[in-house]
Amino acid sequence: MNRLFAFILTAMLISNATPAKAVEVQEIVSPTGIKALLVEDHANPIIAFRIAFRGGSALDPDGVEGLANMVSGLIDEGAGDMDSQAFQGQLEDLSIRLSFSSGMDTFRGTLTTLSQNKAEAFQMLRLALTEPRFDDEPVERIRSQILANLRQKSQDPDSIAGEALFRKLFTGHAYAKASDGTTESVSAITAGAMRDFVSRRFARNNLYIGVTGDITASELKQVLDDIFGGLPEQSGAWALPQADASLDGTVYVTDLAVPQSAVIFAQQGLDRAHPDFYAAYVLNYVLGGGGLTSRLYNEVREKRGLAYSAYSYLSPYDHAALIVGGAGTANERVPETISVIRDQWRLAASNGLSTTELENAKTYLTGSYPLRFSSNGAIANMLLGIQMEDLGSTYFERRNSYIEQVTLADVNRVARQLLNPDSLTFVVVGQPAGLDDSQ
């Protein structure tokens, strides 16, 4: 069943031949039907797994916000016969790196191990997913750490701004929830709720797996069943409606006594599967995506010294899509920063990009793509991503052609249709001069 795809990185470089290096993406299917993508690399005795279950903190029940986050902190705190100290002690003894995290749409796990300890490492991943203990001691300890973190985040301008943006944009939708929960909700999470989460949310039908490193295809086939074979076939059902972001150009202000305001903003984006996604991607690179060369970077930072960073990025979620950006700027200069950003938005919407900007964007985006293949973990993560976005196992070979195909007409049409300076909605956390809430 394994199909082999040779991915010749040099084919994607801008020009010139260099020695061909192949990153071969293999489609693996275990005897019981569990799928994964694999890139073998035997240069170092290291194996990296990146896994994800679809369904994240947006599914936390009302009143139990923070459940996914708390589960992610606890399933490596004791599983099977091992209590917390035994489990953590074995991870440390064998230098196995295992951790979990939750996002709005996904629950993720990362496992990195030396080849010599792989059997134990796989076993520990299996135990964490299928037999977590949720003993009282670690539950209360991790709860107290989460509560401390929530207390501290309540005074951090960037954290406040991020949560406020989603609360304002998605009022009435699950995306408005505080993904790490609140003091009240986290205090109310029980071991029973976490066990229920594990049994309903970790299943084979919503599982994605990317693997890179010192493991062969035939071995991985077997290992997939060993680790994940015990998971239920189907996850519990859920339904989240499409979220309609409320983007009306408001500038929301949250007062916080800090010398520098956190400024973040958003407008409508495009779904990952939208036919114009790559045109929007190129457009955003020029507008606010390029490290030290974007228009926002140039106008906000280089010309005016308004902020240390100024950026924007496409942010597609499972049930909504945004373009999100930000800057950190001195309180007295917030109005100027907002107006420069809106002006840049207006300029791009009405005039689009120049031919040179488009060409420069393409050579950057295609030429820098191989730079992402920088470690086993990075590659495994990309293998995970292309499955979750349903891009196909040959995506690495095709990706640059999607960038190349974007025409000036495309990108300028998308700029006109998509960029809307009047809908650009801001959240400012700090004590900005001359801005009242809801200006």
């Binding site: 709005m104 107290s144 207390r151 010309k303 010294g305 050579t363 973990g377």
Partner: protein
């Protein structure tokens, strides 16, 4: 677990945070069960510039770095922040590449770049396709000596640096406390000043100060070229000679820094801030580094920090967080990578309702225990084993080797030191660890620091 789905890390060109936080982490990367760690090749150019090559042929990509043996601790009095300010301005332009052309050309060629400033070094790097290496070598060599700065460039960039300072320091109570702790810990050494600079001195840095610093320190004989990726030393050598070997030697001054007098008194620092919602405590001790002070203690101290406070099974975490339930978090930290003196810290953050006196007494009980009884054979071997493993992990990523080697070579160490790190760690004996504990935990060399809310009752 401490992640928010909503957060986006702001990008910037200056990775001070990386450097501040990770030196000890980097050191912990550099270990292996075999004789070597990164197996670099090295040679010298005629003008005294050292070249280091780490071959890693995974993809046809190279990381190209130039490290200067100068950092914030080499600044003159009243000029705090000049090393970092200059690092920002290095992106402005030269006659050959004016108006930020460097970054634009690099981006057009699919390259990524950044720079960082620490106490002991300043570094610039680009990651590019192998066939673009010469392009970046030409541009990086050019800006080693040909930087041109207008007063307008400087004044605008000053605003950016001040925003960076607000973002990293002024908006963050822990960072503000860190500045106060360093100023109290180091009585005389320039590590007492923040890398980014004091705000009033950043305000006053002028063209003469900045260009003077550049002329004094930026020269091939004070720089190290490190290239990692799909290249060998034999392939790099002619390119290095062509682009860097032709730059004239300069009369770079010796790095003569003020040193510490004997410390005679324990110091206490308390910082109150309305934004603090989780109080914390730390005790920071002056400690040897790999190259300064009683350097024989450095390797045993690394083991000590790991056993005492390196993770979820360490003594401090187990005792304070798990068993006694006094603390939210607790641990220890040691940073041996400095050219000057190092720091050894223990820290804890109390559970609500726990008094500082109780918390500190519990930490001190663990400290006394390790001074009196040392660590166990089992703890030693577990710690050594975990350090050996992380050296293998360190070989995985393209960027780790050049960062570790660059930091070491600009901070008084040699390639041999980095490569024999695992052997030296493996040679640490039980008695060495106990001796190092007795040596480092001298309160007269320390600062005891509390971070408190100015609004909430804490004790």
């Amino acid at each position: 677990m401490w992640k928010s789905a909503h957060q986006k890390i702001a990008r910037g060109r200056n990775l001070i945070g990386f450097v501040l936080g990770v030196i000890a982490g980097l050191v912990l990367f550099t270990q292996t069960a075999s004789a070597t760690v990164f197996s670099p090749e090295t040679f010298m150019l005629d003008n005294g510039m050292q070249v280091v090559v780490v071959s890693n042929p995974r993809v046809p990509v190279v990381t190209h770095m130039v490290w200067y043996k100068v950092g914030a601790a080499d600044e003159g009095p009243g000029e705090s922040g000049v090393a970092h300010f200059l690092e920002h301005l290095m992106f402005k332009g030269t006659p050959s590449y004016p108006n930020g052309e460097f970054s634009k050309i690099l981006a057009r060629n699919g390259g990524q770049e950044n720079a960082f400033t620490s106490y002991d070094y300043t570094g610039y790097f680009q990651t590019v396709a192998r066939d673009r290496l010469e392009l970046v070598m030409g541009m990086e060599a050019d800006r080693m000596t040909n930087l041109v700065l207008s007063s307008e460039d400087i004044d605008t960039e000053r605003l950016v640096v001040l925003e960076e300072r607000r973002s990293r320091t002024d908006n963050n109570p822990s960072a503000l406390l860190r500045e106060q702790v360093n100023a109290a810990l180091f009585l005389n050494h320039p590590y007492r000043r923040p890398i980014i600079g004091w705000e009033h001195e950043i305000q006053q840095l002028d063209q003469d100060a900045i260009i003077g610093f550049y002329r004094r320190w930026y020269a091939p004989n004070n720089a190290i070229l490190i290239v990692a990726g799909d290249i060998s030393a034999a392939e790099l050598q002619p390119l290095a000679e062509q682009y860097y070997g032709t730059i004239p030697v300069a009369a770079t001054p010796a790095r003569a820094r003020p040193t510490e007098p004997p410390h005679r008194a324990e110091r206490y620092v308390t910082y109150r801030d309305a934004r603090v919602r989780q109080p914390s405590w730390q005790q920071v001790y002056l400690a040897p580094s790999y190259v300064t002070g009683d350097t024989s203690q450095a390797y045993p101290l690394e083991i000590l920090a790991d056993v005492l406070g390196g993770g979820a099974t360490s003594r401090l975490y187990r005792s304070l967080v798990i068993e006694q339930k006094l603390a939210i978090s607790a641990g220890a930290y040691y940073d041996p990578g400095n050219l000057g003196p190092g720091r050894f810290s223990v820290y804890a953050s109390p559970q609500p309702g726990v008094e500082f006196a109780t918390l500190i007494a519990a930490v001190e009980a663990e400290v006394s225990k390790v001074i009196d009884q040392g660590i166990s054979e089992d703890e030693l071997s577990r710690s050594v084993r975990s350090m050996m493993a992380s050296a293998i992990y360190a070989r995985d990523s393209l960027s780790t080797a050049p960062r570790v080697l660059g930091a070491a070579l600009t901070s008084g160490q040699t390639i041999e030191d980095v490569e024999s790190w695992p052997d030296r760690i493996a040679q640490v004996a039980l008695a060495d660890v106990q001796k190092a504990a007795g040596f480092v935990f001298n309160k007269n060399n320390s600062v005891s620091a509390k971070l408190l809310s100015s609004e909430l009752p804490n004790e």
